[in-house]
């Protein structure tokens, strides 16, 4: 098998494993908690409410609202939260990649 094929297979294996083992949900729960605790959620909510107020509830659709907060929301995530999430993900990968690689070969 070529290198890239191998990699692809590994990636898809990992993806399904993350989904099967609920790792993704675990990470999501952690992220949600962190974002709530640090005030990010309230901040974004306020931004949405303000936008709806100024535009008028009739004149703004979900998609538009999403577009409006998406970029800003990403940027507003505190760095420590990003770092923590990355750490969690990489520690998960460290644990599973080598094992999976063996399986594939």
């Amino acid at each position: 098998m070529s290198e890239s094929e191998n990699e692809q297979k590994l990636a898809s294996e990992l993806k399904s494993r993350i989904l099967e083992t609920q790792e993704r949900n675990k990470l999501k729960r952690l992220l949600t908690k962190r974002l709530r605790d640090c005030g990010w959620k309230d901040k974004i909510k306020k931004r949405c409410v303000d936008k709806i107020r100024t535009e008028g509830v009739e004149n703004i659709k979900l998609d538009q609202l999403e577009e409006y907060v998406l970029k800003h929301g990403r940027e507003a995530v505190p760095d420590d939260v990003k770092v923590e999430m990355l750490q969690q993900i990489s520690s998960y990968l460290d644990k599973h990649v080598s094992q999976l690689e063996k399986n594939i070969k």
Binding site: L19, Q22, R24, N25, K28, R34, D37, C38, G39, D42, V57, E58, K61, L62, D63, P78, D80, V81, V83, E84, Q87
Partner: protein, 620 residues
């Protein structure tokens, strides 16, 4: 409930009970209507347990717990009435497509009901996690799990939302217009391109939520046999009558504690816990329920029990026997407890409750108490920073120290019998004449955070530097006396506990002396100046204006009156914006002036933060 007393009495009781029941129903109904996410525990508190004998008691308790909010009933009523009668609301909310859909499909609620039922099983009911997860739904097309899945209201399709958005694709292919978010149970209209509100769907959702709550408590506490919720909406006449006859419980949550033999130190501290909004909130929302925990000797359970007793409506002073008993039994620290010092008890209670709390994660690792999630450390836990700086070089090192109290040193000594002991005493009482009125809380804090020279402390950096250079004894001497320490508060806890150092022991041979110097404290204090951040800003010549709100409000004051060994503890606590004096079994109204006048007695002062901050994410 057969009361065989005189008929008048029993009649009144029945009446009272009827009224209570009405109130309870209103609150429940309103909660169901007003809050979309029913907090677990909210309804639980209103359980009517049909277990014989206990019924009356637990019914009462349930009501009184909730009755805390009873003053809000009238308001809530107005709000809900307003919402219904608001012409704009009823016209604008909703979507034309749905109106038509409902006309075409008499069974329009059926699918939604099934989804709502399943949704509760997947996301809400606290059956063991693994089971719950296995049942998680996924997108019919791509098997993606969890992410904002939307179920079609016309067929059995469930689609993902972001990315590929099979939910949207399904609409494009089939023109099935409505889908519901599987977790949040909000209805999305693809033609409006937006979530829409519809009261019929909402009612189904609320209904399923309540049923899920009931199921959950059946699983968690089968013994309680939770009564089924029956919806009830007051008619106009009924709600008029309720409004007319409802009065807030004026003294809810106030109860004296009997003195069980020199236990006033304990009673005083317990009262401060009972009126501490954060602790109160924790226990009143059933975060530590004695029926669920049930560990014998668990001090959290004992406090939970106290909250129940305090809000049971019973006015007679409560004897904290079981509290005392489990305290003796379970804690060596407290068992041999002869000091009877409120401050010691405060510390011991924190430790004990920390150990008994379910949130405590680092029980073995005392080092990590900093981030402890237990209610006591979340309430009282802060952090000092002591910075050691060398004036000869740039060396500066910070050390953090966890704190649950702020000890304040009084300047000057005022004792009952002046000049009691030895030379030191007389000297100090001399100086006290001048300094005695400088002991305000602010002064004490200023002194606490003052730069303090550290004679004899060697600066390591300087030492190394000197070793490399030619050693000159003059310089070496400098390095020994060049360091200073500044202590500031790095993290303020939600509730600040100030301990006034009133009890001194001049030497091991002498007895402990009580210092009765005046200690002045304000009703409100801005802590910015004494925080590490504020301190740094001031040092750089900046102003404190840009700092977050560090305002604190006086919450309670524990007083020590009389002599050291025969003395007596009382406590002022603020409850619902009014002050009360708790003297063991007696509870009296007090004015804030009176509270602030207890300058010579004040021993522990509790302040609560004006605004609670968000948690700062912290990785370690």
């Amino acid at each position: 409930m057969t009361s065989k007393g005189n008929s008048k009495n029993s009649q009144r009781k029945v009446k009272q009970k009827k009224q209570n029941t009405d109130k309870k129903m209103v609150t429940v109904d309103n909660h169901v209507k007003m809050t979309s996410n029913i907090e677990p525990g909210l309804l639980k508190q209103n359980d009517i347990s049909p277990v014989k004998g206990k019924q009356n008691k637990s019914l009462k308790k349930g009501i009184k717990r909730k009755a805390e909010d009873s003053h809000a009933i009238n308001e809530t009523f107005q709000v809900s009435n307003a919402a219904v009668s608001h012409p704009k609301m009823s016209q604008k909310v909703g979507c034309r497509h749905l109106e038509k859909y409902k006309g075409d499909r008499p069974d329009y609620l059926d699918n939604f009901k099934t989804i709502a039922e399943l949704s509760m099983r997947w996301y809400k009911i606290g059956i063991p996690r693994e089971n719950k997860m296995l049942m998680h739904q996924k997108c019919s097309e791509c098997s993606l799990k969890g992410d904002r899945l939307h179920a079609c209201l016309d067929c059995v399709f469930i689609g993902c939302w972001r990315g590929e958005s099979h939910a949207r694709k399904h609409y494009k292919n089939t023109h099935h217009t409505f889908a519901t978010d599987v977790q949040r149970l909000e209805i999305f209209c693809f033609r409006c391109g937006d979530y829409i509100y519809d009261i019929d769907y909402d009612n189904v959702k609320k209904h399923e939520e309540v049923r899920a709550e009931e199921k959950e408590s059946d699983i968690k506490e089968p013994a309680r046999k939770r009564a089924r919720y029956v919806p009830w909406r007051p008619t106009e006449e009924e709600s008029e009558r309720i409004k007319r006859n409802s009065t807030p419980f004026p003294c809810s949550g106030l109860r004296g504690l009997l003195n069980m033999g020199a236990t006033c130190f304990m009673n005083a501290v317990l009262q401060t816990f009972m009126h501490n909004p954060i602790i109160k909130n924790y226990f009143m929302t059933d975060k530590h329920n004695k029926n669920i925990c049930g560990t014998s000797g668990c001090m959290c359970c004992e406090v939970d029990n106290l909250f129940q007793e305090f809000h049971s409506g019973e006015k007679k002073p409560y004897p904290p026997c079981s509290f005392l008993q489990s305290m003796w039994l379970s804690s060596k620290e407290l068992a041999g407890y002869s000091e009877q010092d409120a401050h010691e008890f405060y510390l011991a209670a924190i430790n004990k409750m920390h150990g008994d709390s379910h949130e405590t994660k680092h029980q073995e690792l005392n080092a990590n108490i900093q981030n402890c999630e237990c209610i006591m450390h979340k309430t009282f836990g802060g952090c000092f920073q002591s910075r050691i700086k060398c004036s000869q070089c740039d060396m500066s090192s910070d050390r953090e120290e966890h704190m649950v109290e702020w000890q304040l040193h009084l300047r000057g000594l005022v004792t009952n019998q002046k000049k009691k002991n030895g030379t030191k005493g007389s000297q100090e009482s001399n100086s006290s004449e001048m300094d005695v009125d400088k002991n305000s809380l602010e002064d004490c804090l200023d002194r606490y955070c003052e730069k303090e020279q550290l004679p004899g402390f060697k600066c390591e950096d300087c030492e190394i530097r000197l070793l490399n250079e030619d050693d000159s004894s003059e310089k070496a001497k400098d390095s020994v006396n060049s360091c200073s320490r500044t202590t500031t508060c790095k993290k303020l806890p939600p509730v600040l506990t100030f301990v006034v150092e009133r009890f001194h022991r001049a030497s091991t041979k002498t007895n402990t002396i009580k210092n009765e110097a005046e200690f002045e404290f304000p009703e409100e204090i801005d802590m910015a100046k004494w925080t590490s951040r504020g301190h740094d800003v001031l040092e750089k010549g900046g102003t404190l204006d840009d700092l977050p709100n560090y305002k604190y409000n006086l919450l309670s004051v524990v007083n020590h009156e009389g002599k050291i060994n025969t003395g007596h503890y009382t406590v002022y606590c603020k409850s619902r914006d009014r002050w009360f004096l708790f003297d063991d079994h007696a509870v009296k109204c007090a004015s804030v002036e009176e509270v602030l006048q207890s300058k010579r007695k004040a021993y522990l002062c509790f302040y609560v933060a004006d605004t609670l901050e968000y948690d700062q994410p912290n990785i370690n």
